[in-house]
């Protein structure tokens, strides 16, 4: 079984025990790698109801069978998996760059980290030699500083580091895990899980060969994909990048503004992808093995924040910008940079700031509550200050650091009506009141509010369906994209490359076969995608989540879009949501409570997990 490293590393931080075990090949073929393999390892190595911050909650990092190869975007990803301290269900987040590449060359498909260290430590993986090292001198540092320090201390420029910042140390439930300074495994608060283990960083050096089954044929196919990546399928990422979405969504009345108060932004031009590229983008760089390049590196050209350098994508731009009423790209860049310094998911962090501003505007949070900050929408100084308070749990930041769901419970006074989250994970930048296929995708996403579990905004935005209508058939649409997306996240290839797989599962299966030498038909791979979606569901069921959690934020369901224009009046009623869920559960082969049936599990070869659904 080439492609895979064939080995799993186990580290227990309580006992200091370090051991390796062979990769179970049957499991590898069934769950591919990345989030699929990671979630399966999570399930097998955890007990139901474990607190996310308990030493018993395993933190898993997994590469895929393509990691470390020349496959464009396929060579470079890694996935973190654990129980999410935000959703209390399955948490998973991917990141790209070079860390996953290095991990594969060090010879590991997955690392399972359990226990909790007494004092801050970091993990130093130098091929086969694995050490738990003192990290007291790194505690409090940003991920960028940590990476620089470790490369210097360990004496190798090519060592790759994934680490947490102060937010992860302070158990902020939206903390992320960063590698190469600007690349984040962002969602689900997994940085806080790492912090709870007192694990500051994983430093890794891999010098082993990565071998594939059919090198020449693989290179021929890679050449084909390289050519496609120069074409229309990757145009967006090579030109304006994801910030192109600003004007597109604004025109559709689907750009959430002021914590989902409005769906259009009067100053959209000032924060558009066009304006960003014209004035701020200094260079577009690429991850390891990629032939597309998408990473828009911005440098603020003038003013108070001149010289601030960071990566910029639509979601962060949206969360820290229009969602907080902020219309200045220099501020948004600075806020993004601060999120990286503190180690916070910029989407959720912006979601929390917008939430706090909304509460302040409605008198639910007073000036006294927030330490005298003027939290009106658009006050950028207050935004930057609040981000710091959240990261360090200072004052109101201590309450907000638990995410909008838990903060709303603590604040009371109807605050939950302003808390835009699904399953405790903050919303992302699509106003799904007028994107009803996407609304279903968001509701059923196993990692909470997210556009990247389903991409179901695509049919809505492209206009291939009536986006204001909830109707039968949307379940099938969501299911199909979901099954593709779980395969993408398990192989791992980059979502931005999805358009270059003209033949869908056939292309992806070809990658798998040429790299591993293991037979895999497109149908089998599609089935694996379905299996992994069921696996996510099963873990959530084991942790007590059910149909009631496949819900949407209060505003999405009860406050129609007020803006004049195409989207005016749009929202998702309970009746519509029920119709969508029933349709989706049916095409998934689940019960009306959203529980996979025994027949479905048998069909997917998951009988071994039948006990989770028994009696449900």
């Amino acid at each position: 079984m080439l492609g895979y490293a064939g080995r799993i590393l186990r580290v227990d931080l309580t006992s200091g025990k370090i051991e390796t075990e062979p990769l179970n090949e049957e499991l590898a073929k069934k769950y591919i790698g990345g989030i699929g393999l990671g979630m399966r390892l999570f399930l097998d190595n955890s007990k139901p109801g474990t607190d996310p911050f308990s030493p018993d909650n395993p933190l898993i990092v997994a590469t895929g069978p393509l990691s470390g190869t020349m496959i464009p975007t396929g060579g470079n990803g890694h996935a973190f998996v654990s129980k999410s301290p935000a959703s209390f269900g399955i948490g998973e987040a991917k990141s790209h760059g070079t860390f996953g590449t290095e991990m594969k060359r060090a010879g590991y498909d997955a690392i399972i980290i359990t226990g909790k260290a007494e004092k801050p430590v970091y993990l130093w993986i130098d091929d086969d030699a694995v050490h738990i090292m003192d990290a007291q001198h790194l505690w409090g540092k940003s991920s960028a500083e940590t990476e620089d320090t470790l490369q210097k201390e360990l004496g190798d420029f090519y060592i790759r580091v994934a680490s947490i910042g102060p937010a992860g140390e302070n158990l902020v439930r939206v903390a992320c895990i960063l590698n190469e300074k600007t690349r984040a495994a962002g969602r689900c608060g997994l940085g806080a899980v790492m912090g709870s283990k007192k694990l500051k960083a994983i430093a890794i050096r891999g010098t082993k060969d990565v071998q594939v089954a059919k090198m020449d044929e693989l290179k021929d196919f890679i050449k084909v994909i390289h050519e496609r990546m120069k074409g229309p399928a990757a145009r967006k990422y090579r030109t304006l990048g994801t910030p192109e979405n600003v004007l597109v969504l604004n025109a559709l009345g689907a750009l959430p503004v002021n914590n989902f108060t409005y769906a259009t932004f009067k100053n959209a031009d000032k924060i558009s992808g066009e304006y960003l590229n014209e004035r701020f983008v200094a260079k577009i760089i690429g991850c390891n093995s990629c032939a597309m390049r998408c990473e828009h590196t911005v440098v603020v050209p003038e003013g108070q924040f001149k010289g601030t350098m960071t990566r910029m994508e639509y979601e962060s731009l949206w969360a820290l910008g229009p969602n907080c009423g902020v219309d200045r790209l220099d501020v948004i860049s600075k806020a993004m940079d601060l999120c990286n310094q503190y180690g916070m998911d910029s989407i959720s962090a912006g979601g929390i700031v917008g939430f706090a501003m909304d509460l302040y505007e409605h008198g639910i949070l007073t000036s006294e509550d927030v330490g005298g900050l003027d939290l009106r929408f658009g006050n950028y100084e207050a935004e930057l200050e609040l981000l710091k308070k959240i990261a360090y749990r200072e004052g109101i930041g201590d309450v907000l650091a638990d995410g909008v769901r838990m903060a709303a419970e603590k604040i009371g006074k109807g605050a939950e009506k302003y808390a835009n989250h699904i399953k405790g994970v903050e919303m992302t930048g699509y106003d799904i009141r007028g994107l009803k296929t996407a609304a279903l995708g968001y509701a059923v996403s196993f990692r909470g509010a997210d556009h990247n579990r389903h991409g179901a905004y695509a049919p809505d935005v492209k206009g291939s369906v009536d986006r204001f209508k909830a109707e039968k058939g949307r379940g099938k649409l969501v299911r199909e994209i979901e099954d593709m997306y779980t395969v993408i996240d398990s192989l791992i290839v980059c979502k931005f490359s999805r358009g270059t797989y003209y033949d869908g599962f056939k292309d992806l299966a070809k990658y798998y076969v040429l790299a591993t030498g293991v037979e895999m038909s497109p149908q089998e791979l599609m089935l694996a995608g379905e299996r992994i979606n069921n696996l996510g569901r099963l873990i959530n069921i084991r942790e007590g989540l059910s149909r009631k959690d496949d819900s949407l934020p209060y505003k999405i369901m009860h406050v129609p879009i007020p803006d004049e224009g195409v989207s005016k009046g749009a929202h998702v009623t309970q009746e519509e949501l029920d119709l969508l869920l029933d349709d989706y559960y049916e095409v998934r082969g689940w019960t009306s409570d959203g529980v996979p049936t025994l027949e479905k599990l048998k069909e997917l070869g998951m009988e071994d997990l039948a006990d989770i659904v028994e009696g449900k």
């Binding site: 020349m70 600007t182 071998q211 990629c290 032939a291 990473e295 350098m309």
Partner: protein, 173 residues
């Protein structure tokens, strides 16, 4: 003697730092072609990313009077008169690494298993250098010291007269 190329006309692989994005495809192209594996430490060209804006691949520059050749205590290295590449006698090389230390560009590396050094040979016998053929950004090309100097001059003058070169952009402000 007819085949001998003057030092200023020697062509070597050079990266345009404005185009290079640090993706490392060149490393994979090289190691997979030469060693049949994917492994950057077995590549004859290496990527350096100092920060997101500063990316560059580096390989052998085919120097005149190469320091690596002079440094070798075993006379294992010599420079090809034909194209300027460094020829390695793997029988003589014992992997001491003096040439690695001597090279100003970090273009010499020690093979982890064979324990002898390796250096870019311009993919001798192939139609095109594999790193150049695969670079998705077309950032790599064969250059001579002459062509590089010419590019540097043009870039320097452009920079000096930046405002005159971009009148349209100035007006927009």
């Amino acid at each position: 003697m007819s085949k001998k190329i003057s030092p200023v006309k020697r062509k070597f692989v050079s990266a345009d730092p404005d185009k290079c994005v640090g993706c490392g495809v060149c490393e994979y192209a090289c190691s997979s072609d030469k060693e049949k594996v994917y492994n950057p430490i077995k590549s004859r060209i290496r990527v350096v990313r100092l920060n997101p804006l500063v990316n560059m691949s580096i390989t052998c520059r085919l120097c005149e009077d190469p320091a690596c050749v002079a440094a070798c205590p075993r006379d294992a290295l010599k420079q090809s008169e034909e194209d300027g590449t460094i020829l390695i006698d793997e029988e003589k090389c014992n992997g001491c690494g003096w040439c690695i230390e001597a090279c100003d560009y970090g273009a010499v590396a020690l093979h982890p298993e064979k324990k002898v050094v390796f250096i870019c040979d311009l993919c001798k016998g192939k139609e095109k250098q594999q790193c150049i053929a695969w670079c998705p950004e077309e950032a790599l090309d064969l250059e001579t010291s002459e062509t590089l100097a010419q590019k540097a001059r043009v870039a320097a003058v452009k920079k000096l007269f930046q405002e005159a070169m971009t009148p349209a952009k100035e007006e927009k402000k």
